[in-house]
């Protein structure tokens, strides 16, 4: 009876750790969405601020992951000491009363991590493009203001006018 109560208490701690991870990854997903919007709006101050928030949230997630691992280790030691692979899916069948609840939370956690991972890939691709675009714009401005560079038409004749590039023109 004592042991069962102990297991239930430990399962509850594990459930809390999973719930915190889910909430952490949802926050990450929202933050990444905001970062995408600030890149789209070219709002550099906002983006810098979000990068700071992202650093903090990454640290929080690392701590939460550590707590989750510790909770799993405790339960494995009590319920399945011979299990070689320390995976939540292997632990679930050994949880006496919380199988359904933990399994549902596991699915939610997987989907939260996957969504955040996909969003992160999208943001990284966008940042890569933004950097490339900025480099090209800098290069174009340099070429425009560089008197020694010449432009040629498709026929190979020297062009008398610059390619149309309206940035910095006075309206």
């Amino acid at each position: 009876m004592m042991d069962l109560t102990k297991h239930i208490n430990n399962s509850d701690t594990l459930i809390t750790a999973i719930r915190q991870l889910i909430s952490g990854y949802k926050k990450t997903e929202e933050l990444i969405d905001r970062q995408i919007t600030s890149v789209v709006k070219s709002n550099v101050d906002e983006l810098t601020d979000f990068a700071d928030q992202q650093t903090r949230i990454n640290q929080e997630l690392e701590d939460l992951e550590m707590t989750f691992r510790n909770e799993m280790d405790t339960l494995f030691a009590q319920l399945a000491p011979n299990e070689q692979q320390r995976k939540l899916s292997f632990l679930i069948p050994h949880l006496p009363t919380k199988q359904k609840e933990v399994d549902a939370l596991r699915q939610t956690l997987i989907s939260s991590i996957t969504n955040a991972k996909n969003k992160q890939a999208q943001l990284l691709n966008l940042l890569e493009f933004a950097q490339q675009h900025t480099t090209e714009t800098l290069r174009a401005i340099h070429a425009m203001s560089n008197n020694t560079s010449k432009r040629y038409t498709v026929n190979g004749k020297a062009a008398t006018e610059h390619r149309s590039f309206a940035i910095n023109q006075t309206a």
């Binding site: 070219s42 550099v44 992202q54 990454n58 991972k117 966008l126 900025t134 390619r163 149309s164």
Partner: protein, 451 residues
Amino acid sequence: MRELFNIAKSGLMASERQTAVTANNIANANTPGFSRQRVDTSPIDYKKNNLSIGLGVNVDQVTRLRNEMIDSQIRMKESMIEEFGARSEVLEQIQEIFSTQTGNDLDQVLGKFLNSFSELSSNPEDYNRRQNVIRETQNLTQKFQSMSQQLGSIQEQTAEKASGVVSEINGLLSELADLNHSIRRGNAAGKPDNNSLDVQTQKLEQLAKLVDIDTLKDENGGLEVRIGGIVVIQGDKAVNLRGESDAANQQFRVRLENGTIIKPEGGKLGANIALISDEIPGYQSELDAIANALITEVNSLHTSGFDLNGDAGLNFFDPDATGARNITFNMAVGSDPNKIAASAAPNAPGNTQIADQIFGLRNQKLSDGQTVIEKSITLGSKAGSELNNARIQMDTARSAKNMLFNQQEKISGVNIDEELTDLIKFQNSYQASARVLNSAQQMYDTLLSIV
């Protein structure tokens, strides 16, 4: 007095022109592709005794404010959005073939087929268990055939879509060639046709959605357009493209009137061509490989065994089948349950060695190190992961396009030094954000591996 009157008149005319341009800007604020225009004025003066005497202003020209570099990047992104959109649409259909969510996925049907031999082993003379093997085999061959047919019909539908896209491209090429005519005429007369230039921008965006294009401006302002490196618009002449579907070789070709083949790589058309020629056949051939491996392995075991009548085992599947499309259960076995060769010795009905070995295919690694079931799971998840990837790429391209649109909107009246400082600030900020994200990239996979 006369000079004073002329100064006032030129000022009024310039102001009237500016008002008209502003009104035009406001009226077209929501017109897609419209660029703001501005009136360029210059002072009129003449020199007398080394003194410059002002005579008012001249309206030199109405300039169209547009950054063509951003335009070309927007077109590139439009092309990518459509390309990944078209891919996602088809990959979604392919994924539905592989993941049914009704417990009828290929790996599950394969599992049931192999399990039926294990059940047969427990009582090899039982008629119902033999009937069960027949039933599961029929389910399996039907599954292979239906998946292959569905892939084939997706390929046909994609070819039809590609033909439709080619027609749309032809329409746009012809409109762009007409626009070239009026733009070049305007430029030659010293009065740029800004409205046609806006329509040109809009049409180019529409064209870029359909196919990846390269553009070059000639010295008269006309636009030369290339697809796959081949000129399709020059001056006011556009070529007509022809789409050819070659079902036998699983190809879709685009030709010019003179027979030259062009190879689009992007946009809707590029995506459709890649799907028809490479991606769908890729899935088809992996599905065939699974079916062929199964035909070879099961036939080899079954022909080495003996049926319930003591006769040598027949081919279990038709050995002439070339893949999933025509995998067939040998009807001689299918119509007589006693013909299932479960035994390794003649007249030994209790021997289940062959049935066990066929069931053992469940765990037997093939030449590529995977079992048939693992191969079918890998194939199913490949469709899902490619779909996911296409969606990420599409979302990224969409965000990048929005970013470029915002930048296009901001153009005009910016100090060059401020602009350079901002760009450097942007660059630093982008790099810092990317560094933060990269540092956490492993975190996702590590956590996924333990849940």
